[in-house]
């Protein structure tokens, strides 16, 4: 069904050689400068929603209204397309050509599916995490970017509640964080199976959808819902959790699943751990892939770990901080967004935080590097 992904496809989609922007629109490249461009969804004070692209100087390059609340997004450097799906329970999926400043396609979900808010590109394929809510199973929707974003296939996600996903650099595997929480759009955002939820990480073959490997927290921590993740060039997976059990417990917050070997859970100083309320909002690596950042909006903190051994390094206090992303070409620096409207640049090594710009936008959970 799928054409084979060629080495050229992988290079062009930025997977095999770090981030490359062969086909990225000139208009953006011209404004890019050395710090790169970043994307985030947001809400306005009047509860209308939108998304924006901005640079490290806090200048806005692109801004659009969305029909409802966005969440994460994916970027195709082959097509210069940006794909955004609505957060859970999400019904809209849009494809934007930023350089042409236009909406070029809308994803048409099959009956009985809704989006979870995350997506990934590989070559001419777009993958989206979805809920097949009447069947009570998670699925990955497969869309053909070369043919008007026609839906061409669907994989079982290997778990309930697939949330964030990434394609590994080998271009053959995707890894999916499945929170394990059953929801149904008829019940809003209510969680329906907390007593017997089973979160997991699942590695799937990108072509066949076959589950290649799985990892789940030990039974004691079966309420540690795995939601967010990122990957490094070696295929190690860095993941963040949101614990659904007692606040009194010091539940696992972040971990690293090595390409070879078992997963390890990071330890935190007790006061920092306490403040997080066992809730991680976003996980990313810095541009040198040596520091992992985990945002904890309930603890009003972003916490930093050594990505090599998962040990705690430091944290920065920022109210309602959730979106975090590597400042490109600036090792040890992260761009951080807050639900209170601020965009910050934080240098982990120097422990310096600069407010880039204060907006009246409520920045949503995630940011993405565009190019």
């Amino acid at each position: 069904m799928f054409s084979d992904y060629t080495r050229r496809d992988l290079l062009r989609s930025g997977l095999a050689a770090g981030i490359v922007t062969l086909a990225w629109p000139k208009i953006l490249q011209a404004k890019n400068g050395s710090g790169g461009l970043y994307w985030s969804a947001f809400a306005n004070a009047d509860n209308s929603y939108g998304m924006a692209v901005f640079d490290l100087q806090g200048d806005f390059i692109f801004e659009k209204t969305l029909p409802d609340r966005g969440h994460g997004a994916a970027i195709s450097n082959i097509y210069g397309h940006l794909a955004i799906t609505e957060r859970r329970p999400g019904w809209f999926g849009q494809i934007w050509d930023i350089s042409a400043d236009r909406l070029i396609a809308e994803l048409k979900l099959p009956k009985g599916r809704h989006f979870y808010g995350h997506a990934s590109y590989l070559g001419n394929r777009l993958f989206t995490t979805e809920n097949s809510y009447d069947e009570e199973r998670g699925v990955i929707g497969v869309w053909d970017a070369s043919n008007g974003y026609k839906r061409i296939a669907e994989f079982d996600a290997g778990g309930i509640g697939p949330h964030e996903m990434r394609i590994l650099e080998n271009g053959r595997e995707m890894v999916i964080a499945s929170g394990g929480i059953l929801t149904h759009p008829a019940d809003g955002r209510s969680k329906l199976n907390i007593p017997d939820m089973t979160p997991k990480l699942a590695w799937l073959d990108c072509k066949s959808g076959k589950v290649l490997r799985e990892w789940a927290p030990e039974t004691k921590w079966h309420k540690a819902s795995i939601r967010h993740l990122t990957v490094n060039a070696q295929g190690d997976v860095f993941f963040g959790m949101q614990y659904q059990g007692s606040r009194r417990e010091r539940a696992p917050l972040v971990g690293i699943a090595r390409r070879e070997g078992d997963a390890m859970i990071s330890e935190l100083p007790i006061d920092v751990h306490k403040s997080t309320q066992n809730y991680c909002g976003s996980v990313e690596l810095d541009s040198s892939a040596t520091i992992m950042a985990a945002s904890t909006p309930r603890g009003n903190k972003v916490i930093f770990f050594d990505a090599r051994d998962s040990s705690y390094l430091d944290h920065v206090d920022i109210t309602d901080a959730c979106g975090v992303i590597a400042a490109m070409n600036r090792p040890e620096q992260f761009l951080i967004s807050s639900g209170n409207g601020g965009l910050y640049l934080h240098n982990v090594h120097h422990r310096e935080t600069v407010l880039i710009t204060q907006t009246n936008k409520r920045w949503d959970n995630h940011m993405m590097y565009i190019g």
């Binding site: 808010g117 149904h184 809003g188 955002r189 209510s190 909006p297 009003n300 309602d320 310096e352 920045w363």
Partner: protein, 353 residues
Amino acid sequence: MKKTLQFITVVCTALIIGSAFAGQFKETNANYVDQHIFPRTEAFAKEAFEFKETTIKACRLTGAQQQEMLQKAFHEAVDAWQGIEHLRMGPLSDYDQMHRLQFWPDKRNKVSKALSNLQKKQEAGEHIDEQKIAFSSVAGQGFPIFERIIYQDGEISAKQCEILRAVASNIYSIAKSVHQAWVDPEYGYGGEMKFTLAENELYTDELSVTADLFTNLWSALQWVEDNKIRSPLREDISKAKPRRMENWRSARSFKNISIDVAALKDSYETLLQSHVLDLADGAQRDALILDNLNAAATISQELENVKEEGIKSEEIWNKMLDMAVHLKEARGQLFAVAKELSIPVGFNSLDGD
């Protein structure tokens, strides 16, 4: 340099505002714990004791007298339960206590499966007692399984009474432990929130307690709106589903909503109202919030005795929708005042993903 200064200014301003409010919140947090939480958990524990005792007595009777006695005890216990159901934090979030008491919504029909499993065990000769219930399926430990038995057609059998006694005892044990976990002077959640314990395991300062209580209030408003109102209402009246309501078997779903809304209004008044009134346009802000909560409360009281099938009538359907709209409005207004009061709840911390 300019931007660094801008950052420092923002941080300092936030700290100053935060510390100015912190002392005031300490008092209202304590009031909320003492005047709202403790009396309700105590009342539930007492009512659960009566419920257990009445169930034991009723099981010595038969026929209509037995059923009437069990149903009355059930309603009184659920009234008290609904009075704390909005406290979806602390002890109720520990050890699945919330789900053990009220496994709902039950999309996979797990309560029926749990009942069927218990009956199979009885057929195999097992005696069902509180201990067995406490270690069986979460879905088969609380009010829904009890309701299923006492609102069935026909007489309650001796075997079913054995299950009822075990379930009622289990409910009492949970209720007692929930109350204890709030009030215990050495480790209670109440002490953590009032900072009266030797060591605070949960909170670093008063504002983080207020943020937690605020988040609970906000989330409970959303829970009632989403699950108890909009879920059975559906998008239009032709699709309304009475059996999606919480206690359709005992026809008390509307009463549950009424108790919820009253408890949430009391939460606002005890925890936040005095702070809202201190804002520059406080009287106006407070009036807006109360207008919505009062409107929802009035509708819910008016509907208290309506049977669930009533949502298929246009009048009731529209009133329920109005109620949902008022609760949503109140939620939006609460979010706005939280920001002005420097309560550290944000867009992502409150409703992230």
